[in-house]
């Protein structure tokens, strides 16, 4: 599209239909607001990643090693050998198109290369050229193409426009998971130093300090202490959690985002209040101070390196098991990769709730329990005293994070908790929740600032469903159990559905939790006035839309 402003008359004559050319012949154009900055060399250096240099994705010269093509293809060959799924996904797609319109990026952008089938085809065409007989022989006719610099740029552009959300895989009759293709494509790109700053920075930080933000132990501790004084102001209760305490029964790990940015901070306050009320024998760690794993967005190896600190710390402190906060990709990594990477964590014990005696059999191998499971179990056993009317000012809907839902199957627990701590809960339309949930549009390390247009497009299907329940039921709070959601959904709402705010489920728990010895609460965890009590406040009023 040209930048020249057409006259009204010209406008009325424009034929908008873009020229009909095959996708292979349409070179990638780096559109503003759709891509993230290239990684700074210092980040790559600190984790020994290849080809650290200053570069911009829009530069003509990407400063690649001379034998970049060889590196890429060799990397591909290795992975085809190592991962049967990768070879299978390269081979078996019948291009039926069932996945084509299921990606939020396609739905929101209208760019056909964001159709999962075409996204995968970008790499598949290279695979055919170099790894199949028909492709070597017949080239384009067999859907094969040469790996050129332009193709490489296209791969980078579109594999950093996939949030690895797996929605497309739900609809594929062959179970092809385009997310896994993206994961491998990004690994290959990383072999050439083609990362993004927003991913490489947190990886380097996490490697150095144990969390994505690069908080040193004392700063991490300070940030939690911040919340303690807020909690004391609100409830009159002084909480004194422990840090790095050897011999604690449970190690608690949550994404560092919850200690850092609103509204995650309120969720963090909810955890602190809950554990205090239970008298839980647990500790925070200022070393394993991150549940998230941006390494997962660079390479399998890096994810593994970053991940192990959680277990190393559990071993060092001698805890029995690990409790994890509200996080998305942390759970995907655990559920899908842990055993293959490190084997079962045999030095820990099978998690048993010290409060209810429930054994978390699903965590037999990982020894790591999601806090939604833990809290749902407490509520089911009638352990918590809850006053849901304290959340009466909130009309809540729930966004299933891709990772906890499609990656792990956590559907009911957060809903059960919300229904127990809130009187007003409404579901978004069926096609947009549970295993069909629409991504926030910012997952897998795409939640940078410079690609805001991309995030807004990708998040539009989600926002549109929120808008629907807002118009129908006056919904004003979008609850979730993922730290990336808490960071990414507020701007998404701000753009598409103003007046809907975002909260972690444990913020709602913190509001409703009646604590022993607390003073009368007049404000919620955000410091906003609680709704005035009326006669019917305790009545159950749970509705679905």
């Amino acid at each position: 599209m040209s930048n020249k402003v057409p006259t009204p008359d010209e406008l009325s004559k424009i034929d908008y239909t873009p020229p009909k050319k095959g996708w292979m012949d349409t070179p990638v154009e780096f559109k503003p607001g759709t891509w993230c900055y290239g990684s700074r060399p210092k980040y790559l250096e600190s984790v020994d990643f290849p080809n650290p240099r200053d570069w911009k994705p829009t530069d003509d010269d990407w400063k690649l090693p001379e034998n970049w093509k060889e590196i890429f293809l060799k990397g591909m060959e290795e992975r085809l050998r190592k991962y049967r799924s990768f070879r299978l996904f390269m081979d078996i797609c019948v291009r039926c198109g069932a996945c084509a319109d299921k990606c939020h990026f396609f739905i929101g952008s209208g760019d056909p290369k964001n159709m999962p089938v075409l996204r995968a085809e970008l790499l598949r065409s290279v695979y055919r050229k170099y790894f199949t007989a028909s492709g070597k022989l017949l080239g384009k006719v067999a859907g094969a193409r040469e790996l050129t610099i332009d193709v490489l740029k296209e791969l980078w552009y579109y594999y950093y426009q996939c949030t690895e959300c797996r929605r497309c895989s739900v609809f594929c009759p062959y179970g092809i998971d385009t997310a896994e293709i993206t994961i491998i494509a990004r690994e290959l790109l990383n072999l050439l130093g083609l990362n993004t700053d927003w991913i490489a920075g947190p990886v380097a930080n996490c490697y150095r300090t144990g969390n994505h933000l690069g908080l040193e132990p004392h700063t991490f501790k300070n940030s939690i202490e911040f919340f303690l004084s807020d909690i004391e102001d609100i409830t009159g209760i002084k909480i004194e959690p422990s840090f790095n305490r050897k011999g604690a029964e449970i190690l608690f790990i949550t994404p560092s985002g919850d200690t850092f940015a609103d509204p995650g901070t309120y969720t963090c306050m909810g955890y602190l209040m809950l554990f205090h009320e239970l008298g839980l024998d647990y500790t925070w760690s200022t070393y394993a101070s991150e549940g998230g794993n941006f390494g997962f967005f660079t390479s399998n190896e890096m994810a593994k390196r970053l991940h192990y600190k959680i277990y190393a710390e559990a071993k060092r402190l001698g805890v029995k098991w690990i409790l994890g906060g509200e996080c998305g990709h942390m759970w995907r990594v655990l559920n899908q990769y842990l055993d293959t990477w490190h084997g079962p964590a045999d030095f820990l014990e099978e998690p048993v709730s010290p409060i209810t005696g429930t054994t978390f059999e699903n965590a037999k191998s990982s020894k790591l329990v999601h806090i939604a499971e833990f809290t749902a179990d407490l509520i089911r056993n009638g352990i918590l005293k809850l006053d849901p009317s304290r959340n009466n000012h909130l009309k809540v809907t729930f966004h299933d994070s891709c990772n906890t839902s499609r990656g792990m199957g956590i559907f009911e627990e957060p809903r059960f908790i919300i229904r127990s701590v809130c009187n007003h809960f409404y579901e978004m339309p069926e096609d947009t929740i549970r295993e069909k949930t629409f991504c926030c549009g910012s997952g897998s390390g795409l939640n940078a600032g410079e690609n805001m247009e991309l995030r807004m497009r990708g998040g539009f299907p989600r926002a549109n469903a929120v808008k629907y329940v807002k118009e129908k039921h006056d919904v004003n709070m979008l609850a979730n159990i993922c730290a990336i959601d808490r960071a990414a959904l507020p701007p998404l709402m701000d753009y598409w559905v103003p007046d809907v705010r975002v909260a972690g489920v444990h913020e709602l728990v913190g509001n409703a939790l009646v604590m022993k010895g607390e003073k009368e609460r007049i404000v919620d965890l955000r410091g906003e006035p609680l709704p005035v009590k009326s006669e019917s406040t305790s009545s159950e009023e749970v509705k679905e839309g």
């Binding site: 599209m1 402003v5 739905i107 056909p112 609100i234 096609d431 805001m452 598409w496 410091g527």
Partner: protein, 198 residues
């Protein structure tokens, strides 16, 4: 015959052509998806565009016989908010408004009833006057759309800036580098969550 009645009669065909023309600004594969998938949740772009142009058209006609303020802004906002974040230049994002003039002109030109009125009685003059009124209403729509487009783009820049500001502010705060209470309150307020005095 009044222009309003004529246009109401032709509502469906005009809207269909308008919708088609808007969809043509997308690649072919995309436009067929936008047109054919009717589910509001799984095709929010197509659905929103269709609902918005329906609303805009009705408001345009409704206002032909009174001069009250125009209440089309929510329809206009819904469609422009989408185009403002897609791959369009500003002029292409907003050109759909001008398409409507062209479509209406063409539809009226082909209308046998209108032609016979104009030929036989000359009372087509009334229609001409009304048409120029309609034109200026569409111009007004275009002017409003510039405002909305700018607001959407400003919002995007604002969100980009806020992402940065949020991070920096909290880092400084944690490093105990910020003592300025007023500044803290201003920023908190900007982000819509000024803590109420406890």
């Amino acid at each position: 015959m009044e222009l309003k009645n004529l246009l109401s009669e032709k509502r469906d065909v005009i809207l269909e052509r308008w919708f088609d023309l808007i969809l043509k600004s997308y690649p072919a594969d995309t436009s067929s998806f936008l047109r054919n998938q009717k589910n509001q949740s799984t095709n929010p772009v197509g659905h929103t565009i269709l609902k918005s142009i329906e609303g805009l058209f009705d408001k345009l006609i409704e206002g032909l016989d009174h001069t009250s303020g125009d209440s089309w802004s929510s329809f206009l906002d819904n469609i422009i908010r989408i185009k403002a974040v897609q791959d369009f230049t500003p002029s292409h994002a907003l050109s759909f408004i001008f398409d409507l003039k062209k479509i209406i002109r063409e539809e009226l030109k082909n209308d046998p009833v209108l032609n016979s009125i104009q030929d036989n009685s000359g009372s087509g003059n009334g229609i001409t006057v009304e048409l120029s009124k309609l034109d200026s209403r569409i111009d007004a729509l275009a002017l409003d759309s510039f405002d909305i487009y700018m607001k959407c783009r400003e919002k995007i820049y604002d969100l980009k800036a806020k992402e940065f500001e949020n991070k920096t502010f909290r880092l400084l705060q944690m490093a105990n580098l910020i003592y300025d209470k007023e500044e803290e309150q201003r920023l908190d307020k900007d982000h819509g969550n000024l803590k109420k005095a406890l």
